[in-house]
Amino acid sequence: MKNLLKTQDLKAYYRLVDGTDIRAVDGVTLDLRPNEVLGIAGESGCGKSTLASVMSLTHNPPLRVIDGDVTANGSNLLTMPTEQVRQKIKGRYISIVPQGAMNALNPTQRVRNFAIDMLREHFPEMKKDEAIDLAAARIDELGLPRRVLNNYPHELSGGMKQRTTIVLSTLLDPKILIADEPTSALDVSSQKSVISLLLALLKDEIITSIAFITHELPLLRQIATRIAIMYAGKLVELGTMEEIIFEPLHPYTEALMSTMLVPERHVREQRIQSIAGVPPDLKAPPKGCRFHPRCPKRLPVCSTEEPPAKEVGDRTVWCWLMQ
């Protein structure tokens, strides 16, 4: 299958001063295909943001890539010279909107100055006016009010700040946008406006694909093409949105789905059970399947051997029950 970006057996650990590793991403193989929104979901601490930072090549020590590749068009991005990555990949091929990005806008600068700085970083020759015109044209195209360029960040609402951040991060027409929790801390109506903007970026072919990281599965129901569920540094299930949301196979996916509180009848009809226990310590994750201590359906083999990937139709499930 054609892909824009692929991680192969990717392992990325936080190495502490005492030499212990926190195995935040521990063998993840995942591909991002053209024209899709790939949702990456899981609880906090499952490694989804770590995965996003490695996929966007924005990882910094103490986070290190221990093993595995991140490839695009057949070339390994992890071994590419830093200068080349900076000029050709970051912002041009892959752009990331990290968690809380909207609060990273400089409070003492108008939004337009940020756009100028960013564009001239990539095109030193560009005049200020040209940079502003470019940003204004994009803002018009996406239906945002042009005044945001002249505003300071504190003059914008949360939803507008987040949309501005997304527009700025896609000014250089990257193929891939990685959005890490772009809608958390926003009201439902602002959430929807951010989602509409992301879909408009795809529709207008400004970007080709999105990796959308969140813990809110009802949001992925609205925009994802495929969904990857992560638990304790590993993928447990990867399939189409419909498969994951409506017919989950992995016991963790099933449990996670059942705890989603949405205003729909089934939520009030019975008491919802939470998932017993807590996620494991990633310094010393449990042997075998990492979910086995909390799994209601565990088999003897689950505590001793890691489940291999099993293809079920188009989806992949890492669970002994599927073998």
Partner: protein, 271 residues
């Protein structure tokens, strides 16, 4: 003390708390902001309800006034029929307690769990022995699913978000309030543990006849836990009704829009 004996919710017709034309205005002149605009509602004994609104709707300002942390510009609050201004704050806080959004900022990072919970006895005038207090703390921690033996001498930074939130609740239980105001109690907690905390709150309400008012923007949470919903927008309560009524047959345009914008599982947005 409420904690000691489990009772069925009281079936009395007089409300526990009654709010009448409550208003809060910040600033003056042209900078004047009406944060809460003449709202009125009642809370029945043992009832769970939600005050639902987006940021800036005035819901947290309302919560602060109910807790007497902020004085209303206008309007009255009656507790068991009595004007709360006639009651000493300390006595009021024995009956009305709160848990907040960010469980970390609620703690002094130098205090262990033991000294944090110990402070709660100041409100209850409990002059019993240290051993008795310790037993009560352990009982309260047990009730909220915390292992007292393991955690009693830990400090806040050694606890997870969920544990801190449960600890806030244990403290409230030591005091044994009749009304608990829960301001976004699970917004810092993962979906899977969120349901656990909510179930616990609902059980405690049933066992002790404690009323709970959730202050939240999370419609799913409100729908799951509450008998009644109050929808707040721009300082006003725009709609009020049972959870089923409001969610299935909203009448106010604002409520309709809010329900349209919530991402759901069984319906896709039209965008």
């Amino acid at each position: 003390m409420v904690l000691a004996n489990a009772v069925e919710p009281k079936q009395s017709s007089s409300p526990l708390l009654e709010v009448s034309n409550l208003t809060k205005i910040f600033g003056s002149g042209k900078d004047q902001v009406v944060a809460v605009d003449e709202i009125s509602f009642e809370i029945q004994p043992g009832e769970i309800l939600s005050l639902l609104g987006e940021s800036g709707s005035g819901k947290t300002t309302t919560a602060r006034m109910l807790l007497r942390l902020s004085a209303p510009t206008q309007g009255e609050i009656f507790f068991e029929g009595q004007d709360v201004n006639a009651v000493k704050s300390v006595d009021y806080w024995k009956r009305v307690q709160a848990i907040f959004q960010d469980p970390f900022s609620s703690f002094n990072s130098f205090y262990s769990v033991h000294s944090f919970l110990g402070k709660a006895f100041r409100l209850t005038n409990n002059h019993n022995s240290a051993a008795d207090k310790r037993a009560r703390m352990e009982e309260a921690m047990e009730k909220v699913g915390l292992n007292a033996e393991e955690l009693l001498f830990k400090r806040p930074h050694e606890l997870s978000g969920g544990q801190r939130q449960r600890l806030m609740l244990a403290r409230a239980l030591l005091i044994g309030p009749d009304l608990l105001i829960a301001d976004e109690p699970t917004s810092m907690i993962d979906a899977s543990s969120r349901v656990g905390i909510l179930n616990m709150l609902m059980d405690l309400s049933r066992q002790h006849g404690m009323s709970i008012m959730f202050i939240t923007h999370d419609i799913g949470l409100a729908y799951y836990t509450s008998e009644r919903l109050l929808i707040m927008n721009e300082g006003k309560i725009v709609e009020e009704g049972t959870a089923e009524q409001v969610v299935e047959h909203p009448t106010h345009p604002y409520t309709k829009r809010l329900l349209d914008d919530v991402p759901r599982l069984r319906r896709k947005w039209d965008i």
